[in-house]
C-alpha cells in the first residue's frame, strides 16, 4: 500500500515540477539558466557532432570500398592505406568548395555585413526533436549574434536566429511549421507567405485566386514585414493547389537549401528585424 502511495507521490511531484518548469521556461524566466546549461553542453555537442560526421564519412567510405573490392581486388590494399588520407583530403576539399561558394554569396551581396573571422557559422547540432525544425550553430551573443538575424547559405534562405546563448545559437528553419517568410514569386511578382508544414515541404499561402502560377518559378523573400531582407532565394514552386471555393491558392515550395546536409551557414548581422516582431515559438506540426 505504502509502495503504491510513494509511487503516486513520485508521479505527482515530478509532474508538478515539470509543469512549473514548463511555465517558467515558456515565459522566458529560465533564459539565463537555459543559456548557461546550453553553453556547458556545447563542447560535448561539438565533439559528438564531429564524431557523427566522421561516422557518416566512414560509412560512405566503407560503401565505396565495397564497390571497389568487387571491381578490382588488386587495388584493395592501396585503397585501404589511402582511405584515411583521402578522407582528410576530401573533407578539406569539400570545405574549401563550400567556403568558396559562401565567398561568392558575399561578393554578390555586398550590402550584408558578415562578422570578421566568424563570418561562417558551423552547424554543431540538429534538433533532436521531430517537433521542432532547428539547427544549432557555433556563434552566440559573444560574436554579436542576436535573435531575428537571417541565416543563409549560398543556395538560399535557411531561417533566422531563434535563441541566442553566449557561444551558440539556435536557428529556426524555414521548414518549421511556426516559421512564416513573406515571399514573392520572381516571375510574376505575386506575394504570399511561405510557411513550413509538418513532415512536408513548405507551402506559399495567401496567393490571390485569379493569378496564374507556373511550376518551376523561383520564390524569393519579399522583405515585407521587415523580418527578412529582400531577394533571398527561398525555393522553387513544385505544385500549385487551387480550389474554387477558397479565397487564396497555395503553392508547394521545394527549398533550394538541403536542410539535411547543412554544415556551414552565414549569419547576416547587419540586418535589423523590425522591433516588436515576435520570435517564433517552438513549433510542432
Amino acid at each position: 500500500m505504502s509502495r503504491v502511495s510513494s509511487r503516486t507521490f513520485l508521479i505527482f511531484a515530478l509532474a508538478a515540477v515539470s509543469v512549473v518548469l514548463l511555465i517558467l521556461s515558456s515565459s522566458n524566466r529560465l533564459g539565463p539558466v537555459e543559456g548557461a546549461l546550453s553553453s556547458a553542453g556545447r563542447p560535448f555537442l561539438t565533439t559528438f557532432s564531429g564524431l557523427g560526421r566522421q561516422i557518416n564519412n566512414m560509412i560512405t567510405t566503407a560503401r565505396d570500398l565495397a564497390a571497389l573490392r568487387g571491381r578490382n581486388n588488386q587495388l584493395q590494399t592501396m585503397v585501404d592505406t589511402l582511405t584515411i588520407d583521402n578522407l582528410r583530403l576530401q573533407e578539406a576539399e569539400s570545405e574549401n568548395e563550400r567556403l568558396r561558394s559562401l565567398l561568392k554569396f558575399r561578393q554578390l551581396n555586398p550590402n550584408y555585413d558578415f562578422r570578421g573571422g566568424q563570418v561562417i557559422a558551423r552547424v554543431i547540432g540538429k534538433t533532436p526533436s521531430n517537433y521542432l525544425q532547428s539547427i544549432t550553430i557555433d556563434l552566440g551573443s559573444e560574436h554579436g549574434i542576436k535573435p531575428g538575424m537571417p541565416v543563409v547559405t549560398e543556395r538560399g534562405l535557411v531561417g533566422r536566429i531563434h535563441k541566442v546563448g553566449a557561444l551558440s545559437s539556435t536557428v529556426l528553419l524555414i521548414i518549421d511549421p511556426s516559421s512564416g517568410v513573406p515571399a514573392l514569386i520572381r516571375g510574376n511578382r505575386l506575394s504570399g507567405v511561405v510557411a513550413g508544414r509538418a513532415g512536408g515541404q513548405p507551402v506559399m499561402e495567401f496567393i490571390p485566386q485569379d493569378e496564374k502560377i507556373a511550376l518551376g518559378d523561383t520564390v524569393i523573400t519579399s522583405g515585407l514585414g521587415g523580418n527578412f531582407p529582400k531577394n533571398l532565394v527561398v525555393g522553387q514552386i513544385v505544385e500549385v493547389r487551387q480550389r474554387d471555393y477558397e479565397m487564396f491558392q497555395q503553392a508547394t515550395v521545394r527549398p533550394t537549401v538541403n536542410f539535411d546536409r547543412l554544415e556551414v551557414v552565414l549569419v547576416i548581422t547587419n540586418f535589423q528585424p523590425l522591433p516588436g516582431e515576435p520570435g517564433e515559438p517552438e513549433s510542432v506540426g
Binding site: S129, A198, D260
Partner: protein
C-alpha cells in the same frame, strides 16, 4: 543492530549505483540523440532513442525508476533541443505507466512486449508534446503530425528496441536482480 546498519549501507550503495548508472546512460543517450540520431532522418522523422530507453527501462526496472529516468532525460533533452524545459519530461513520464503494464511479464526476455509498448508509447509521447504546444498557443496540425511524424517514428523506434532492450536487460542484471512491483 549491525545487521540493520549493513542493510542501510547496502541500500545507500545501491542507490548510488543506480544514480551513477542513470547519469552515465542518460548523458550518453541524450548526446547520441542530439548529434548522431538527429542526422538520421528516414521518411521524415528521426528515431527517439530516449523514449525507447525510458520505456524499456520502465519495463525492466519498474515504473518508479522509469519515471525518474523520464524526468531527468526529458530535462536534458529539452535543454539541448531548445524546447521549453519540462515538455519532454512530461511527455516521457506519461509513457512510463504504460510500460508498467508489462512489468511482471512471464516472458521477460521476449521482444514482443517491449516492441508493443514502444509502439504504443510513441504516439502517447508525440501527442503529449503536441498538447503542451497547443496549450502554449502554437497552432498544431494533429492529423499531419500524426501521419507524417508519429507514424514513421513508431517504425524507427520499434527497430531500436531490438538493440536497446537486450542491452538494458544485460545492464540491469549487472546491478541487481529485478524486483516484482505490485
Amino acid at each position: 543492530m549491525a545487521k540493520a546498519s549493513r542493510r542501510r549501507t547496502l541500500t545507500i550503495r545501491r542507490g548510488l549505483t543506480n544514480f551513477y548508472l542513470m547519469a552515465v546512460v542518460l548523458t550518453l543517450v541524450v548526446l547520441v540523440q542530439a548529434t548522431l540520431l538527429a542526422r538520421v532522418r528516414l521518411v521524415g522523422a528521426s528515431p527517439n532513442l530516449l523514449l525507447v530507453v525510458v520505456v524499456c527501462w520502465s519495463l525492466i526496472r519498474g515504473v518508479s525508476d522509469g519515471l525518474i529516468w523520464g524526468f531527468v532525460g526529458g530535462l536534458a533533452l529539452d535543454v539541448i533541443a531548445g524546447l521549453p524545459i519540462g515538455t519532454s519530461s512530461l511527455a516521457l513520464m506519461a509513457t512510463t505507466p504504460l510500460a508498467g503494464l508489462g512489468k511482471n511479464s512471464v516472458f521477460p526476455g521476449s521482444l514482443t512486449l517491449p516492441i508493443l509498448l514502444v509502439a504504443l508509447a510513441t504516439p502517447v509521447y508525440g501527442w503529449m508534446v503536441l498538447l503542451s504546444e497547443m496549450i502554449r498557443g502554437i497552432p498544431v496540425d494533429w492529423l499531419a503530425s500524426t501521419v507524417r511524424i508519429i507514424g514513421p517514428e513508431i517504425a524507427l523506434n520499434v527497430a531500436l528496441v531490438v538493440i536497446v532492450y537486450p542491452a538494458l536487460r544485460w545492464l540491469a542484471t549487472q546491478i541487481r536482480p529485478a524486483q516484482m512491483e505490485w
